[in-house]
């Protein structure tokens, strides 16, 4: 449904040099699938999402949706950001109905649709509250309801649960799973959390860092509803961890500057140096 071919995007740095965020990325998103982009921070996965959302323009390459080129944001591609991005001056229900208002839908229909979407995230009781009166997790659920209200062709989620605590995140995973089963919407999900990606997705693209490229593709052949203790998921996690490990090493080497290993059962460098000393 959405096709990216040879997409590259760089940013100008302060010293005038160009920093390549993503290079020559090609993949497509199929209708109705839950696709995750997984990678270490700074690998350009959020940039990719912004490009698909139309919030940024690619330097080269082409992104098209159902054959048409994407050249700006549109309500058929709604985004849930890492932070909730709700409008603080509006009540929860007005926030959810905001996009519908832009479409020119009459007020009554608007609030009916908004209520229906709030029902999906189990927040109808809080419809008349303001965002600051809600917990962080609730706000993110409102943001999901707002994005769903437009009945988008694709829902883009940019690390939507990264700022939440573990318990809330687990609850939201369950809710999102429920929503995808009910609505059958196409979803692009950005995360750096391996488990999250495995639990939720049909397909996972692991990205490499600097420059950002698609490194490997994994499919998750497990039916929904899924269970965290499913051994299939764990095997997959180990495989992805290994792929990602190389990338993480690259990042850490750059940041810390000395040989750093994330290897299974490896003894840390510092410990190695001290083995046998002072005997």
């Amino acid at each position: 449904m959405i096709d990216l071919s040879g997409v590259s995007k760089g940013f100008m740095q302060k010293d005038g040099r160009k920093f390549g965020a993503i290079e020559n990325v090609t993949f497509s998103i199929r209708k109705g699938e839950f696709l995750s982009l997984l990678g270490p921070s700074g690998c350009g996965k959020s940039t990719l999402l912004n490009l698909i959302a139309g919030l940024e323009q690619a330097d080269s390459g082409e992104i098209s949706m159902q054959g048409k080129k994407i050249n700006g944001p549109a309500p058929d591609r709604t985004v849930v950001f890492q932070e909730h991005a709700l409008f603080p001056w509006m009540t929860v229900i007005d926030n959810v109905a905001f996009g519908l208002k832009q479409k020119g839908i009459p007020k009554k229909t608007r609030s009916e649709i908004a209520m229906e979407k709030l029902q999906m995230v189990h927040l109808t009781r809080f419809a008349a509250r303001y965002p600051h009166e809600l917990s962080v997790g609730m706000r993110q659920r409102v943001a999901i309801a707002r994005a769903l209200s437009m009945d988008p062709e694709i829902l883009l989620m940019d690390e939507p649960f990264a700022a939440l605590d573990e318990q809330t995140r687990l609850i939201l995973h369950k809710q999102l799973e429920e929503i995808t089963v009910i609505t059958g919407t196409t979803l692009l999900f950005i995360t750096h959390n391996i488990r999250e990606a495995i639990f939720l997705s049909d397909r996972i693209l692991v990205m490499s860092t600097r420059p950002g490229r698609i490194k490997r593709e994994f499919t998750v052949p497990v039916a929904r509803p899924r269970d965290y203790v499913d051994p299939h998921l764990h095997q997959l996690e180990a495989a992805i961890m290994e792929t990602l490990g190389e990338e993480l090493e690259k990042v850490l080497k750059e940041e810390i500057g000395y040989e750093f290993r994330i290897k299974k059962n490896a003894v840390p460098d510092l410990a190695v140096n001290h083995l046998g000393n002072e005997l």
Partner: protein
């Protein structure tokens, strides 16, 4: 309590006509409202003030928006506005008299001019401080980048700053108004102050000062402060 100190010190220090006693002032108040033109004068002052203020808020907000949007304007005209803001608006009165004559328009002009600069700077701050995330979210929901984005997102998002600007520029306008009226013609509080001075009627003069103070406090507390507090509570900005 204050009134008692005032009255006794009047009697002890024998201020005579130079500064009025409580009773004289109260008397002048009564006289002014029942027989005189005090009420009429207050209303016409308020009318001028509101006209000037409304114009100032609209122009100021527009300027502020332009400054926040176009860097070139901000660095040229914006700098000019900052320096203009430090100039007391009464200095424009001589110019205004030349341009518009010694009439209402001049007073409205200098009342508005002080408020405009303040409003422009506050709204500029407001527009600049809108989280970019909100704008992106709005655009993905189909607001576009034009007029709808402006009045549905930009204005409400910068409302706390705009509100503050409106409050401060109200105070600026109020001051400029009275000083403008002191010099220009027409019925108004400032003009009365001048008239009573020539009559040596200090108690009526004090009346006017009190009216100005009361109106200023009332408008700030009953209107702006209340509205601002409600706004801050709604935006979740109160501690």
């Amino acid at each position: 309590m204050l009134l008692i100190i005032w009255e006794t010190s009047y009697r002890i220090f024998q201020w005579g006509w130079k500064f009025p006693s409580v009773l004289q002032t109260a008397d002048a108040f009564y006289d002014g409202f029942v027989n005189g033109q005090l009420l009429e004068g207050t209303l016409s002052s308020l009318r001028r003030l509101l006209t000037a203020y409304a114009i100032a808020v609209v122009i100021g907000t527009t300027l502020g928006f332009l400054f926040s949007r176009y860097r070139f304007l901000d660095e040229t005209l914006g700098m000019l506005v900052v320096s203009l803001q430090t100039v007391p608006s009464i200095v424009w009165l001589p110019f205004a008299i030349i341009w518009f004559g010694l009439n209402d328009t001049s007073v409205i002009f200098i009342t508005g001019i002080g408020a405009t600069w303040t409003m422009a700077l506050s709204s500029r701050t407001g527009f600049i401080n809108i989280p970019p995330l909100l704008l992106r979210a709005a655009r993905t929901l189909g607001t576009g980048t034009g007029y709808r984005l402006f009045y549905q997102v930009l204005v409400p998002a910068s409302m706390p700053h705009l509100m503050n600007g409106m409050r401060v520029s109200w105070a600026f306008a109020w001051r400029a108004l009275v000083s403008g009226e002191l010099i220009a013609r027409g019925t108004g509080l400032g003009q009365f102050l001048q008239d009573y001075r020539s009559l040596g009627d200090t108690s009526s003069m004090l009346c006017i000062v009190i009216i100005i103070a009361v109106l200023g406090t009332l408008s700030d507390h009953l209107c702006f402060k209340r509205f601002e507090n409600r706004l801050l509570a709604r935006y979740g900005l109160t501690k």
